[in-house]
């Protein structure tokens, strides 16, 4: 009852304020008029009756105020009043308000944009039902064996063992990437896709939007001619035809029946979501059954696995179950020992992968920007609250309590913060747009980044917290004011007691220090970036055109067919005007990791498993090194005389020579594939290490063999590289014609210049540099605005003092130096503190750097000087103003 009446009166106060007010008026007027009538009745003259009634009543306004307070209106009333008053004050000084709101909006906007990235990539669950139960069982290298990659693919028999014994999984599926040449309906097109076992879609928990997933009996050899296509392929190639189900399409020469169309946006697995060593396509377009036989024959290991844990099974339990399977396998067959080590990785963690650290770096950087913005606005408010001292004193003298004053100031800060938050959301929106446009393609889940509810909530939260944070300092400063002192100082402009300048200077110093930390980090990343640009990748990217040449397995079933094709093709390509050299290779630089395999070196027979030699095994043609611009260090290049019947030869990279023949040199030594079924090759040349994924990669041993000397790996998916005399883009048509002149059904995939591939590999570092660099510039800008504000205010405050100094004969240049010196002292202190802090911070950054140490003295010195220069520039204007102070005017001021 009482609670209800209280709520009722609050609601009335808020919603029906004007009605309550007018009722109060009516009630009090009635009282006084009734009293006046009574007075008239008792003989008081008409003319004075009402006046007397009013006098008897006492202060009407204070009674009303008490009534409002009594009915619970006062809290809300005061708040509304504070807001009204605050916004009036802010409107009255639009310059101050604009600077404060903009400064903060930049901070809030930048942090909300970064948070939107963090939210989409790290926090949001994957777009699969119960995605926390989806795991990737990964096969890891035996301890001590370096394959260039931590993971290696599963074999078919291993997968069969898992499906028989794997109890932690509700479903577990295998998949491997494949390329498909879609022919028959229009222009032949080359598509990336996957062969996946029947449990693949159930493991993800996603069913086709149209049609059905694979049935178990379709996942059998001989029955696998069914295909599920992506929404994009369905729209682009088949005009979103809903009658597509049951239609036959021709893939690699076989007829497949379309059984399903996946929902929009589904493209699992994308390259950036999986370990890079798998070399998966960027965006798969179709899936066909994998069809592993029940009793798989030994063959190459090419599978990746995905599983859905049973409800309630933890990662640790799954890992324990997998370890048991490992033990079982090792007990059954000693050849498995060391080769069945598994790791169960949650899909979410795999997808996030290596982006966690760069994102944390960005989050840290943006926090610094936000802090600087906050302390900037705090300083502005502090400075302003000094100017408003007389107002506060007056209000305190009129009876405003200390709490009420603090509340008023906090309300103003929060108003600024909320306005900044609103503007910040606009900035964040623009930021998100840029990030999506400029973000590297291999940043996982980038397409999911939006300005959604969590991001808006984050922006609001940040606004409120910062509002309190930067509002508190001036508010407390104002409340500490001693009323009597203030009144006594009253007209003087000197001011602020002893507390506030110290607080202001501390804020300024911390701003400079924070800016230094941020700019040093950005500087180190920038140097890393340029080091990478200048890094030797073992090739020369200029004027090189590359493309992939996937061959239909049916048509080119025999190796000698492929060799003839390549011979003809090289001949034709070299004949194109403008082509300087042409070569074919299993990989071209920066197109992805090579395949690491076991090799055999008769000189050094492996004593134990750990010493088993490995190398990337790369098939090339003569002319390949000339085409990609890899110089020969020693020995000779492959030649046309190295025919099928000639002595089998190989060329190795420096890393391989260093690893296996560190002292004697590799030239003339023998090496071969792991299996003794293949003949040994003689090493005839040494080339530099060619980088495959990024310019910062650690090079692995690599050996090159000739395509026409019966190489061991398949040659169905080779790359072609052409070095041109002029712009490579100009010859694309000629190349297409040359290839189609030999076989009109051959698709040319991923046509790109080598420069583009290098560029793409730089996307992530470039993005980091871009973001951190922008934050650094923001930090510099904010810090210099802060310095400008504080120094100009102090000059304004000291006008009188400066005037006296000049009147007493101080040189104007000295005055100028004095002001500049004040700024320089604060900056120097900030830089000193910042350097110490930066030394700690950059140590954490070591993994982001390449070719530059975290303590790089050049960067530290350059950034310190830059900061000092910019801050002194910000002091220059106020210092000049101080120098020009007219003593007459300054003294008359009072």
């Amino acid at each position: 009852m009482t609670l209800w009446s209280r709520m009722h009166s609050w609601v009335r106060t808020i919603l029906q304020r004007s009605r309550v007010e007018s009722e109060m008026d009516t009630e009090l007027r009635f009282h006084m008029e009734a009293r006046a009538e009574d007075l008239i009745r008792s003989g008081v003259p008409c003319v004075v009756a009402l006046r007397r009634a009013r006098l008897e009543f006492g202060g009407v306004e204070s009674a009303k105020e008490e009534c409002r307070e009594a009915s619970g209106a006062s809290f809300i009333e005061n708040l509304l009043q504070d807001i009204r008053f605050g916004s009036r004050i802010l409107r009255k000084s639009p310059g101050f308000t604009a600077v404060a709101v903009l400064t903060l909006a930049v901070g809030i906007g930048a942090s909300a944009a970064v948070f939107s990235l963090v939210n989409a990539i790290l926090l949001k669950p994957l777009p699969y039902p119960d995605s926390n139960r989806i795991v990737l069982p990964e096969l890891v290298s035996p301890p001590g064996v370096s394959l260039g990659s931590e993971y290696f693919p599963w074999g078919q028999s291993q997968f069969r063992m898992l499906t028989r014994d794997a109890h932690p999984f509700q479903t577990v599926a295998a998949f491997q990437n494949d390329s498909f040449n879609l022919t028959g309906s229009g222009e032949p097109v080359f598509l990336d896709g996957f062969r996946a076992s029947a449990e693949f879609f159930p493991s993800l928990g996603i069913s086709p939007a149209l049609g059905r997933a694979f049935a178990a009996d379709e996942d059998q050899p001989g029955h696998e001619y069914e295909v599920i296509i992506s929404d994009r392929l369905w729209r682009e190639r088949f005009g979103a035809d809903r009658n597509i189900l049951g239609r036959a399409v021709e893939l690699n020469g076989y007829a497949y029946t379309v059984v399903g169309v996946m929902p929009e946006g589904f493209a699992f697995p994308r390259a950036e979501e999986m370990p890079s060593s798998f070399n998966f396509p960027a965006e798969p377009q179709l899936w066909v059954p994998l069809a592993i036989p029940a009793e798989p024959k030994p063959g190459p290991s090419e599978l990746a696995l995905i599983g859905r844990l049973k409800p309630g099974v933890t990662i640790a339990q799954a890992q324990a179950a997998m370890d048991l399977i490992t033990k079982h396998a090792e007990a059954q067959d000693h050849r498995w020992i060391g080769w069945f080590n598994t790791r169960v990785v949650p899909l979410q963690r795999q997808v996030v992968g290596d982006t966690r650290h760069p994102l944390q770096l960005m989050l840290g950087a943006v926090c610094i920007v936000l802090l600087i913005a906050c302390s900037n606005v705090a300083n502005l408010l502090l400075t302003r609250s000094l100017a408003r001292r007389r107002e506060f004193t007056l209000r305190a003298a009129l009876g405003a309590g200390r709490a009420r004053l603090i509340r008023q100031l906090l309300t103003e800060s929060l108003l600024i913060a909320l306005a900044a938050g609103a503007a910040g959301i606009l900035i964040a929106n623009a930021g998100i747009y840029f990030v999506k446009m400029l973000g590297p393609a291999n940043l996982p889940r980038l397409r999911e980044v939006t300005l959604d509810l969590p991001v808006l909530a984050f922006a609001l939260g940040v606004s409120l917290v910062t509002g309190v944070l930067f509002g508190l300092a001036p508010a407390i400063g104002a409340a500490r004011e001693n009323l009597v002192d203030s009144l006594r100082e009253g007209s003087q402009r000197s001011g602020g007691g002893r507390m506030t300048p110290r607080l202001r200077n501390a804020l300024l110093v911390s701003q400079v220090a924070l800016a230094l930390v941020l700019v040093v980090s950005a500087g180190l990343l920038t140097r890393t970036f340029f080091r990478l640009l200048g890094a030797d990748g073992g090739f020369n990217a200029e004027r090189v055109l590359t493309f992939q040449l996937p061959l239909p397995a049916l048509k080119y079933a025999e190796q000698n067919q492929i060799v003839t094709l390549f011979q003809n093709m090289l001949e034709r390509l070299r004949a194109i005007p403008g082509v300087q050299s042409a070569g074919i290779g299993e990989t071209v630089p920066m197109s992805g990791e090579g395949e690491s395999t076991v090799i055999r070196i008769p000189d050094h027979p492996a004593a134990s498993l750990k010493e088993t030699p490995f190398a990337n095994f790369t098939v090339i043609s003569p002319g390949f090194f000339a085409a990609v611009g890899t110089p020969l260090l020693r020995g000779r290049d492959f030649q046309e005389t190295d025919t099928t019947d000639a002595m089998p030869v190989a060329i190795v990279n420096k890393a391989m020579e260093r690893k296996y023949w560190p002292n004697e040199g590799a030239l003339g030594k023998q090496v071969g594939p792991g299996s003794t079924r293949f003949p040994l090759l003689t090493i005839v040349g040494i080339v530099p290490d060619v980088k495959h994924t990024s310019l910062r990669e650690e090079s692995a041993p690599e050996m090159y063999v000739l395509y026409n000397q019966k190489p061991w790996p398949s040659m169905l998916n080779m790359h072609v590289a052409l070095r041109t005399k002029a712009d490579p883009a100009g010859i694309t048509e000629g190349v297409r014609d040359a290839v189609h002149g030999i076989d009109p059904d051959l698709p040319l995939a991923k046509v790109a210049t080598l420069t583009t591939l290098v560029d793409d590999s730089m996307a992530q570092p470039r993005f980091s540099v871009f973001l951190l660099g922008s934050f650094g510039i923001l930090a510099l800008l904010l810090a210099s605005i802060g310095m400008y504000g504080v120094i100009s205010y102090s000059v304004l405050q000291r006008t009188q003092e400066i005037g006296i100094r000049i009147a007493l004969g101080a040189q104007r240049r000295m005055v100028f130096g004095m002001v500049l010196g004040q700024g320089a002292r604060l900056t120097g202190l900030g830089i000193a503190i910042g350097i110490v802090a930066a030394l700690g911070v950059t140590r954490v950054m070591a993994s982001f750097l390449y070719g530059v140490r975290p303590t790089d003295p050049l960067t530290f010195a350059a950034v310190s000087l830059l900061l000092l220069g910019i801050v002194l520039l910000a002091c220059y204007l106020p210092a000049r103003r101080a120098m020009r102070v007219d003593p007459m005017v300054a003294l008359k001021y009072e």
Binding site: G58, A63, A70, S71
Partner: protein, 113 residues
């Protein structure tokens, strides 16, 4: 006529509750009723009457509604609520106990100590 006594702190609320317990009254009526009951021996600050009324209404002891006064004017009438009635009884008892006790203390003679 005796000099009017100033109101004891906190007693105005009780007097208002008493006044409206006899029937709905408007604010001025409350004033007149209290003066009438006290035979003009109590001095009530007219300005402090309304905050007390608002407070009692906010607490739910009394309720208000608009009505017509004796001279056909719009006036706000207050009446005691059920909760107010209970409250008034409790307050009255408390007051009587208190008054008895204080009277007892004040009437103590030296012999009784």
């Amino acid at each position: 006529m005796a000099k009017p006594i100033d109101l004891l702190q906190g007693t105005l609320d009780m007097l208002i509750l008493k006044a409206v317990s006899l029937g709905p009254l408007h604010g001025y009526g409350v004033l007149l009723r209290i003066q009438q009951i006290s035979k003009d021996r109590l001095e009530i600050q007219q300005g402090s009457l309304y905050p007390a009324l608002y407070r009692l209404e906010h607490q739910g002891w009394i309720a208000s509604e608009w009505g017509e006064s004796e001279n056909k004017r719009k006036a706000k009438y207050y009446r005691l609520t059920a909760a107010g009635k209970r409250r008034f009884q409790a307050e009255t008892e408390k007051w009587n106990r208190m008054a008895d006790m204080i009277a007892g203390i004040l009437n103590t003679t030296p012999e009784e100590v």
